[in-house]
């Protein structure tokens, strides 16, 4: 066989393949890579499906259309991983109706706003901590807790503070104050939330009013309804709230007067 002829044949084959891959169209062809849609707006004659030749023709048209769509997909940015080669699809062009309305956005709480600002992310804290002093794992808080500042034989007196002050007492006092402050903030949040639920915009005066109510509720929410609670220094007595009905005793003049209606 002639070498030239062989070369010519292989060249012709390659060109035919190229022609089949790179489909040339004078008409427009629409591609929506995100949805993997292709649209060929040329008119179609459905009667072609009735004959064998027509079916082949329709199949070749379909092949060209799929080829054009795949060519567009193959030109997208690619990613490789263990599972194979991936084409990164752009967002769909043709938008379809949603099945449900978008979820309502809940307003962020003060803490959430703050955490976002500071870039704080929620992480699970372990219950046990390593205690440097004893060299063992202990609970984060509670009885025999790890790294307890008060569980040391001595505490250094800070420069400039009263040397005769009991440092252990001071730790306890500070802790109590912190708990108290946190409690106040919690009640304040409740008050603000209550106002919000009522649809009243939070203003300082109103919050204070609500806060007083919330404090009263908070203080009477103990087992003894607040009767045996010790008052904290500087804490005001709570006025009893709500309507109080006067109960008349038998033989009471006022009571007699009221009973006349019977």
């Amino acid at each position: 066989m002639d070498v030239d002829q062989l070369l010519r044949e292989s060249q012709q084959k390659a060109e035919a393949l190229k022609k089949r891959v790179q489909v040339q169209r004078t008409e427009e062809y629409y591609v929506d890579e995100g949805n993997m849609f292709g649209a060929d707006p040329r008119p179609v004659d459905l009667h072609k499906f009735n004959s064998e030749a027509g079916r082949e023709e329709m199949k070749e048209t379909a092949r060209e259309n799929v080829q054009l769509l795949f060519n567009a997909i193959w030109k997208l940015p690619m990613e490789n991983d263990d599972e194979g080669r991936f084409a990164v699809l752009p967002p769909p062009k043709m938008r379809l109706p949603r099945q449900k309305p978008a979820p309502e956005q809940r307003e962020k709480t003060r803490w959430e706003r703050f955490a976002e600002l500071k870039g704080i992310k929620k992480t699970k804290r372990s219950r046990m901590l390593y205690d440097e002093m004893s060299g063992e794992w202990r609970p984060r808080w509670g009885y025999k807790r790890a790294n307890d500042a008060a569980a040391v034989p001595w505490i250094e007196v800070k420069e400039g503070s009263d040397p005769y002050e009991d440092q252990y007492e001071k730790l306890k006092k500070d802790k109590k104050a912190r708990v108290e402050k946190n409690e106040q903030q919690r009640l304040k949040n409740i008050a603000a939330a209550r106002l919000k639920a009522k649809g009243i915009p939070a203003n300082r005066h109103l919050i204070q009013k609500e806060l007083k109510k919330a404090i009263a509720i908070g203080r009477s929410s103990t087992a003894s309804a607040g009767v045996f609670d010790k008052d904290l220094p500087g804490e005001a007595k709570i006025k009893k709230q709500g309507k109080r009905t006067k109960v008349s005793r038998a033989g009471d003049r006022a009571g007699e007067g009221r009973r006349t209606e019977q």
Binding site: G38, I73, E79, Q99
Partner: protein
Amino acid sequence: MNGAGGGAKTARGRRVLKEREPKVHEDPKSIIYLHGTKCSQVVKEVFKDMHDLTRGQSRIYSRKHDLRPMDDHTYLEGLSRKQDASLFLVGTSNKKRPNCITFARMFNHNLLDMAEVQVLNFKPSHKFKNAEKPAAMSKPAIIFEGHSWDHEADFKQLKSILADVFRGPVVSRVNLAGLDRAIVFSADEARFSMHQYRVKLKTGASQLPLVELDECGPAVDFKMGRLVHPSQELMKQAMWQPKQLIKKAPKNIEYSALGEKLGRVHMHKQDMGSLQLRKVKALKRSAKERAEAKKNKPVDPTAGGRKKPKQTAKAKNAKRAKRAPK
């Protein structure tokens, strides 16, 4: 809880209701195939084949339902609420409209739109040599051939519905090895056909594959029937996109003609005064200058109260000793 039928009594029930709550990124719409009291065998077979195409997001009901969706769609709305489905294909057959399939689309469990089509010809997939059930939740390539799809209102609506039913999940990337099927819808004036092909990728030219098709069924010819158009108000609500889905173009990033990424970075003006240079004796302030600067230093009236304790000579010496290299 604001799920269907009030709150849930069990944790499992709560989980189900939570799963059904609106989402920003929605799951693929679930599809239910069901048929009326009279439904031809042809339509049932069409449903079986279509159910294979939408595998993973569809259910097929085998019992008869007494419904005529074009007249009354309350049953479908109830079913949508109960089954959390948003696409229905209802098969009916009567003398006036034989082999009829009604596509019904829901938004928030309310009817959005409906389209009715009649099956003219049908060749089930098991009659094709290359028949093979597609993998569940696989994404097909979809081709719309014909002038009508984008230029006639009825076909436009039908195109949207067909796209909704057959497009599969919305994904951000697609495995090239998984692109194995194409659904082709061809339309003339009043009819359209649906053909599914198996795609074979062969070595092509210049990094593009050569696509070859084998018809694998089903092949269906349809005739357009009645339509129920969506109300504009409801469609507007359904097309509304939450903010999170709208992608903003990144700022200050450009691509050159050569495909290079160019970024623009905004910097604060550099303070040259505080630049740390090599210490040169000639630039040092003299003792006189230092004393003057100290004298001219403004006194902060708010500062005060506690004065910094004066360092004793002993402490000073200790500090100096610490600083000195050993």
